[in-house]
């Protein structure tokens, strides 16, 4: 009798482990359009309204805990933010002068408004209704989907800058892959004297850091310089263009060691957006509008 029980227990345990391994192997090897992914999307679709409801009902609890957490964090940040404020005030003065110049130049070359005019990209505001609590997947789930005009690979921005892009879309939800996910990459510019281009990749396993790689070896990059999306477009092949509009802030250079820059052509960047405390994001549903681009006069 006891032997029978032990055999039954071991058989079920083996079946469960086997089922997990089969699921893992099948899922890992399949394409995103495969049946297993479709089933997963279907279940998320069903659970999405429940999650939205629960998220709204439980938001006061989260807000209270968030308030305490933010208060403790804020206290530790006062002195750093005071210095930051002084630095930003100086930068604002410079930026206001630069904007004045920029308006005059834009009138000359008929540049379209940059990321400042987010409205031209048909933004859709979305609430964050779920998130991955660990360091591994770096995804969030939002309550807007294809019925709101969201498409696969639409850029997502949050308070302060780029958050990531849409990696899965359902009718009433979207999964956003954050820029700290190991599969993320984007072409960016460092706002130094020359505007050096590079490729933004995550420092996987560290959600507070990003890397800008493939920089020119002798780029004059220093701490605190802004990094923005490059938004390139190939004139010879219009289909080849960046997924992200130009000028979206990505972060600030946090470590620009000249030796590292020369040897590995990369610098560290701190994300502009606090990815761990996102509650609302904007999905740019028309990231490449047919805007008039800057052109040099012929001859």
């Amino acid at each position: 009798m006891r032997d029978k029980q032990v055999r039954r227990r071991r058989t079920i345990l083996g079946l469960l482990v086997g089922a997990s391994l089969i699921l893992l192997t099948a899922y890992f090897g399949e394409s995103p359009s495969s049946p297993l992914h479709a089933v997963q999307r279907g279940i998320v679709e069903v659970l999405s309204p429940i999650q939205t409801g629960a998220s709204k009902v439980l938001s006061p609890v989260g807000d209270i805990a968030g308030w305490f957490s933010s208060t403790f964090r804020a206290k530790s940040q006062v002195s750093r933010l005071t210095r930051e404020n002084q630095r930003l005030t100086r930068l604002l003065d410079q930026a206001q002068y630069a904007e004045l110049q920029n308006q005059q130049l834009r009138g000359l070359v008929k540049l379209d408004a940059g990321i400042g005019a987010v409205n031209s990209y048909s933004p859709v505001a979305a609430n964050v209704i779920g998130r991955d609590p660990g360091l591994w997947f770096q995804t969030i789930e939002v309550d807007k989907g294809s019925s709101d005009g969201v498409h696969l690979r639409d850029p997502v921005v949050g308070p302060g800058g780029l958050v990531g892009d849409v990696s899965q879309v359902g009718p009433n939800f979207s999964i956003v892959t954050e820029l700290t996910n190991d599969k993320f990459a984007a072409s960016v510019l460092v706002e130094d004297a020359k505007g050096d281009p590079g490729v933004l990749v995550p420092a996987v396993g560290n959600p507070d850091q990003l890397l800008v790689t493939s920089l020119p070896p002798h780029a004059q990059i220093s701490y605190g310089q802004e990094v923005v999306t490059a938004g390139f477009k190939d004139a010879t092949n219009p289909a080849l263009h960046s997924l992200y509009p130009p000028g979206i802030p990505v972060g600030q250079v946090s470590n620009a060691n000249q030796n590292t820059l020369i040897n590995s052509q990369q610098v560290q960047v701190t994300p502009a957006v606090d990815l761990r405390h996102l509650s609302v994001v904007q999905i740019l549903t028309r990231p490449n509008p047919s805007t008039e681009r800057a052109q040099l006069p012929a001859g």
Partner: protein, 203 residues
């Protein structure tokens, strides 16, 4: 209640507890940051159910809850199940083999389960080829999550126990132990009470 109804009561309660735990985890708890990390109640619920219902139930609930977590987070299916099956199974085995009665057992098991989940997830990700360095931040996050989960392990166990308790079958070993510590099941069943004073005059 009929016999069939009574036999379905426990699985139904377990399913409701598991589903609610996953939804609350993904919608609320994961958005609350304590010491820079979020608590994860799902391994704690698996441990609690394993401790209360046994190894087989623990393993099945571990598989199901892991699958739910992977489905709702749209991540690789099977990873979390693979981690939660041994957690549920060994929690149940501990109950079956040792029958621990100390009040802090759920706390220790909760800490161990969270550590296994964190480290196991890291190992599986490395095996699957995620190009990530073993950063200090990763170890720090695992440690902080273990700490936070340890703090909430007892309340989670108590909530799960209160929900499942009315549907749990009476455990014969616990009944025996209770009988031993209280001196018997009932005074009516004590031989001395049943038989009355023993007469020695017959010797």
């Amino acid at each position: 209640m009929s016999v069939e109804g009574a036999s379905l009561r426990l699985p139904l309660r377990i399913a409701i507890v598991a589903l609610i735990a996953v939804v609350i985890q993904e919608t609320a708890i994961s958005q609350i940051s304590i010491f820079g990390v979020s608590a994860d109640i799902t391994p704690l619920v698996v441990v609690s159910i394993g401790l209360l219902c046994g190894s087989l139930t623990g393993a099945i609930v571990g598989f199901a809850m892991g699958l739910c977590v992977d489905l709702t987070l749209v991540q690789t299916l099977g990873i979390t199940s693979l981690l939660y099956i041994p957690i549920g199974y060994w929690s149940g085995r501990l109950r079956e083999l040792r029958d621990p009665s100390h009040g802090l057992v759920p706390l220790a098991l909760g800490a161990a389960a969270t550590a296994v989940t964190g480290l196991g997830m890291a190992i599986i990700q490395f095996l699957l080829g995620v190009d990530a360095p073993v950063s200090l931040l990763l170890l720090q996050q695992i440690f902080m999550t273990v700490l936070v989960n340890t703090l909430i392990a007892l309340p989670v166990y108590e909530i799960v126990r209160r929900i499942l308790h009315p549907a749990l079958p009476e455990d014969p070993r616990r009944r025996r132990r209770r009988a031993y510590t209280t001196g018997g099941l009932s005074p009516l069943q004590r031989p001395s009470d049943r038989l009355g004073p023993i007469s020695r005059s017959g010797r």
